[in-house]
């Protein structure tokens, strides 16, 4: 039993992926700098204050890192064991959200727990990843069987629909990507892929008409959900384009971006933080961010590669996909190649609960990395 004990994990500390953790910290640090610049206009209190968004974000980061270390000490099989319970709980939370959640501009996404906002969909991401990993591995880690594929879809569909009706287009896409990515890793057959691709393309026009033909407000809240876009559906995309484009090669210099500092950009410490980066630090600054993300994601993929068992591999893959898609969609919104949807930039955007969830994810990856030899020798 020693391999499940504390000694086992202690021995595993030298396998802790320091590069992964440091890359994540670098992203958080990058974010702090941008939050500082983005909040100059709205915050003018003392530097050392809990009201200061930079200080708050720093504190949340410390808590989140602590959580990562704690999680990494636990064997991820605990999660697998309780996978159905976690999944059931997230479905329940998403259902409860419908009558009592907080509604912002027509979208109901979170609970207020005192000062903390709790987004059930964040929790549901991890629960779904874990359950999919367990389900697929129980079926031999093999998605070639159509029955297995169908089962995995049946697991994903309820959460996906519950998020879709909030409505939260961005997170819906992330759930779809999680499912797709995990079944691909699990070895979906090419003809099944083609089949699902065809079904998706066939359904798309119906989805489009359904969302567009309805009353305008609904269209805006579903397709371009208006949470971060109260002025007019075209305002933020235009302003973020101008911000990013005008940054050019080297940027206007930190705290010198007119779009940022004169408040043309909205939610600039959160959803539009990339535009701040683009304007003030330019193409070079953006490439530095991309490099950090690619490094982080590659380390996550490495974890999936070396994972000791199939569920470990699938969980790592699911978390990598979540971070990848969230970063991609957020930046794509900032670059106006995706409709405005309220997704934060992972590790960079201001927001405690997002940070906590992300570092929990990293903790799970660390747990997988630290135990990969133990399970391989099984």
């Amino acid at each position: 039993m020693s391999r499940f004990g504390v000694e086992g994990s202690l021995r595993a500390w030298d396998r802790f992926d320091a590069i992964l953790a440091l890359t994540a910290l670098a992203l958080v640090g990058y974010g702090l700098v941008l939050i500082y610049s983005g909040s100059l206009g709205s915050y003018d209190g003392p530097t050392a204050s809990l009201e200061n968004p930079v200080v708050r974000q720093g504190l949340f980061a410390l808590i989140a890192i602590g959580a990562m270390f704690i999680i990494s000490r636990f064997d991820y099989h605990v999660l697998l064991h309780y996978a159905w319970w976690l999944y059931g709980a997230s479905i329940l939370l998403l259902l409860v959200l419908i009558p009592i959640g907080q509604t912002d501009f027509g979208s109901t996404r979170w609970f207020a727990l005192g000062p903390i906002q709790f987004q059930p969909s964040e929790f549901a991401k991890i629960a779904t990843i874990v359950l999919l990993a367990r389900f697929l591995s129980e079926q031999g880690g093999d998605a070639r069987d159509l029955r297995v594929l169908g089962g995995s879809l049946a697991i994903t569909a309820p959460v996906l629909l519950l998020v879709f009706i909030q409505p939260d287009l961005g997170t819906t896409i992330i759930f779809a990507a999680i499912w797709l990515g995990m079944v691909v890793v699990a070895g979906i057959q090419r003809r099944h892929m083609l089949f699902f691709g065809a079904v998706f393309l066939a359904v798309l026009p119906f989805l489009w008409t359904f969302t567009v033909a309805d009353y305008q407000i609904e269209r805006i809240s579903v397709l371009f959900d208006a949470e971060e876009d109260p002025l007019d559906a075209g305002y933020n995309p235009i302003q973020s384009q101008i911000a990013v484009g005008s940054g050019q090669l080297l940027g206007k210099g930190l705290t010198n971006g007119e779009q940022t500092q004169l408040d043309f950009l909205k939610v600039k410490t959160k959803d539009f933080i990339f535009s701040v980066l683009g304007e003030e630090l330019g193409f070079v600054g953006a490439m530095a961010l991309f490099a950090l993300f690619i490094l982080l994601l590659m380390r996550g993929i490495r974890a999936a590669q070396i994972a000791g068992d199939i569920p470990g591999q699938l969980i790592a893959a699911g978390i990598v996909i979540t971070i990848l898609m969230q970063a991609y969609i957020n930046i794509a919104v900032n670059l106006s190649i995706f409709p405005v949807t309220g997704l934060p930039l992972p590790f960079v955007s201001q927001g405690g609960s997002s940070l906590l969830t992300l570092f929990l994810g990293l903790g799970i990856i660390q747990s997988i990395v630290m135990r990969h030899r133990a399970y391989r020798q099984f």
Binding site: H77, S137, G141, F290, I310
Partner: protein, 635 residues
């Protein structure tokens, strides 16, 4: 960790070394970041300069600061126009509360304040939103009174999306009798905008449309200032980068005496009788300045600064009397007032002298026409044996036929060697006295030149399928009728006044004007109108004869009713015949033109009614005007 114990999940016994498609993830990472990177290259490196420019435009606002429009005063400094505000309540739908309940409460509040039903506001806002104009201020109530506007301004800060706009508006306190002089301002037409935008006009800036407002547009407007400011996303000022103050419009001091103008207007209205239109010109024979110029009927130029003048404007356009037309600038047959010009021509040409006599023993004179047939030309009475002074005094038609076209069957020559030449010579003198061309009065209006016919003119105008070839020929009668101001001759009351002034002042044709001085925004005198005059080609001794005839007319002639007790008045009546197109009857138009005092002319008065007899209708009105002028107006 013993809690896991035996219940731990089986980690997939079938393969203890997973080898799934992890490589796909690497490809996905690379591809997605390549997409983002490519887009960044396009936005920041390829189009970066363009976005940088847009970022500048985003925050740098260059605005034109409109100047205050100049004021217009009468010759005594009485203001004839005021600048006032036009208040409009605006709603910007995009800034209204999202929640329908609080929106409707806001509408209800506005209903209380403005008296516009909440449902109507809601409808307008919804319609604007459906048009996609969420960010465009929508006017919901115009022309608010000052009190309501102030109340709205106070509460607007607490009503999101509600604003008050103040736009400059011109108010003309003088009354409709000044409308034809002042004109009005209005929004620019697309054609005007094309020209005016080069002078820095804002597209919503008003511009003078007619009258002094239009003629002196550039002086009245002043020069706009500019303000270059840096603003934030809310449009709030960050810093003023540069500001030049606007230069207010110039003031204009008219030569018009507003009391006289009002007096003449009321006098015409009260003496119109059956006439439908009337006009009067009171001008200085010394400088050419206009003391009063009245056209009846008139219109209220204040309606053009109402938010929606369509109804009133339509009514004006449909009025058969055409109130928008300036009667004093509209040509019509001048009748016998034209005889003073015929007399001047004949005296200068020498075919008639002061002492040339004609025994008008019958009111009918038989002419033998070009076709050998007799034609009968009438005088209005049997004058007896008269000379030129008496002919002017009594306005003898036959005498003036003799003076213009001559009496061929008696061997009496006219102004020229033949009928056509006579007409050409008379036309030359008529033009020398300012007829047949615009006077150049500094009111932007529809001033018409009128017609001084000539054989060439007749051939040109009477051509085309509507006319017979013989209609184009010039006959003896054409010259004769021209000599008494009938036939095809037309002149405006202003032209007749200018011609009278030239006779009164010893031969100087004046350019009439209503603007005496231009003042700086602070009231300092910038410029004074210099009278412009031109010598008419008639010797002073001849003009003295005409003045004598006009004086005689008032003493003991056709213009007796123009006499004043304390002043020597000289004048000439005119009764122009016309055939009323409605009933086919021959009717008269009443004219009088004269000056006073006889020995030192200070004022010329010309009066016209479209129905009436000159001696009994126009002459007494002119006398009243002269009396009022000499008593009340400081020349």
């Amino acid at each position: 960790m013993s809690v896991i114990g035996d219940r731990r999940v089986d980690p997939g016994l079938s393969r203890n070394r997973p080898h799934g498609n992890v490589g796909v993830l690497r490809i996905a990472v690379v591809v997605l970041f390549l997409v983002l990177g490519g887009r960044l290259v396009q936005m920041q490196l390829v189009d970066g300069a363009e976005y940088a420019e847009r970022s500048e435009l985003n925050r740098i606002i260059v605005e034109s600061v409109p100047p205050t429009r100049g004021l217009i005063f009468d010759r005594n400094g009485q203001p004839l126009v005021q600048n006032s505000g036009s208040f409009t309540a605006l709603i910007t739908p995009g800034f209204l509360p999202e929640e329908p309940g609080s929106r409707y409460r806001l509408y209800l509040y506005l209903e209380d304040l403005l008296g516009i039903p909440a449902l109507q506001i809601e409808e307008a806002v919804t319609a604007a939103e459906e048009r996609g104009q969420r960010d465009l201020p929508l006017p919901i109530a115009r022309a608010l009174d000052r009190e309501t506007a102030l109340m709205l301004e106070q509460v607007a800060a607490d009503l999101p999306g509600v604003t008050l706009s103040v736009e400059p508006r011109r108010v003309y306190p003088g009354g409709p009798e000044f409308s034809h002089i002042l004109g009005y301002v209005g929004p620019q037409s697309p054609d005007e905008w094309r020209v005016l935008q080069e002078d820095g006009y804002a597209y919503n800036e008003v511009v003078g449309k007619v009258g002094v407002e239009a003629r002196y547009e550039s002086a009245l407007r002043g020069n706009p200032g500019t303000s270059i400011t840096e603003v934030d996303a809310q449009g709030d000022l960050i810093t003023t980068i540069e500001r030049t103050d606007p230069e207010g419009g110039r003031g204009i001091l008219l030569s018009i005496d507003s009391d006289l103008q009002r007096y003449v207007y009321e006098l015409l209205i009260n003496t119109m009788g059956e006439a439908t239109t009337a006009a009067a010109v009171v001008m200085s024979p010394v400088t050419g300045e206009i003391y009063a110029i009245v056209s009846v009927p008139t219109y209220d130029n204040n309606i053009f600064s109402l938010p929606d003048p369509a109804e009133e404007y339509k009514a004006l356009l449909n009025d058969p009397r055409i109130p928008l037309l300036h009667q004093a600038l509209s040509p019509i047959a001048p009748g016998s007032t034209f005889k003073i010009i015929t007399a001047a021509a004949a005296l200068q040409e020498g075919n008639v002298t002061r002492y040339t006599r004609r025994d008008v023993d019958s009111s009918v004179l038989e002419f033998i026409g070009e076709d050998g047939q007799p034609y009968y030309f009438y005088d209005w009475r049997v004058h007896g044996d008269i000379d030129l002074v008496e002919a002017i005094s009594w306005s003898s038609n036959i005498y003036f036929y003799m003076a213009s076209c001559g009496i061929p069957q008696e061997g009496i020559a006219g102004l020229g060697s033949n009928t056509e030449q006579s007409a050409i010579v008379l036309g030359y003198y008529a033009r020398s006295f300012g007829l047949g061309q615009v006077t150049g009065l500094d009111i932007a209006s529809t001033e018409s030149p009128g017609v001084i016919p000539s054989p060439e003119w007749k051939r040109r105008v009477r051509s085309g399928p509507l006319f017979n070839p013989e209609d184009r020929d010039w006959y003896l009668a054409d010259t004769c009728f021209m000599g008494i101001g009938q036939g095809d001759v037309t002149a405006t009351p202003l032209q007749i006044a200018v011609a009278t002034a030239a006779i009164a002042n010893g031969g100087y044709l004046l350019e009439p004007y209503v603007t005496r001085q231009i003042l700086g925004p602070d009231g300092t005198l910038l410029s004074t109108t210099e009278p412009s005059r031109e010598r008419v080609p008639v010797d002073e001794e001849h003009l003295a004869v005409i003045r004598q005839g006009m004086r005689q007319s008032v003493i003991d002639g056709a213009a007796r009713l123009a006499a004043l007790p304390d002043t020597l008045v000289a004048g000439k009546t005119g009764t122009a015949e016309f055939i009323d197109p409605e009933d086919g009857e021959t009717k008269d138009r009443a004219w009088f033109t004269g000056f006073a005092p006889y020995n030192n002319p200070q004022v010329v008065v010309t009066v016209f009614y479209d129905l009436g007899v000159g001696g009994t209708k126009a002459a007494p009105t002119a006398a009243d005007i002269m009396g009022y002028f000499l008593e009340h107006v400081e020349p």
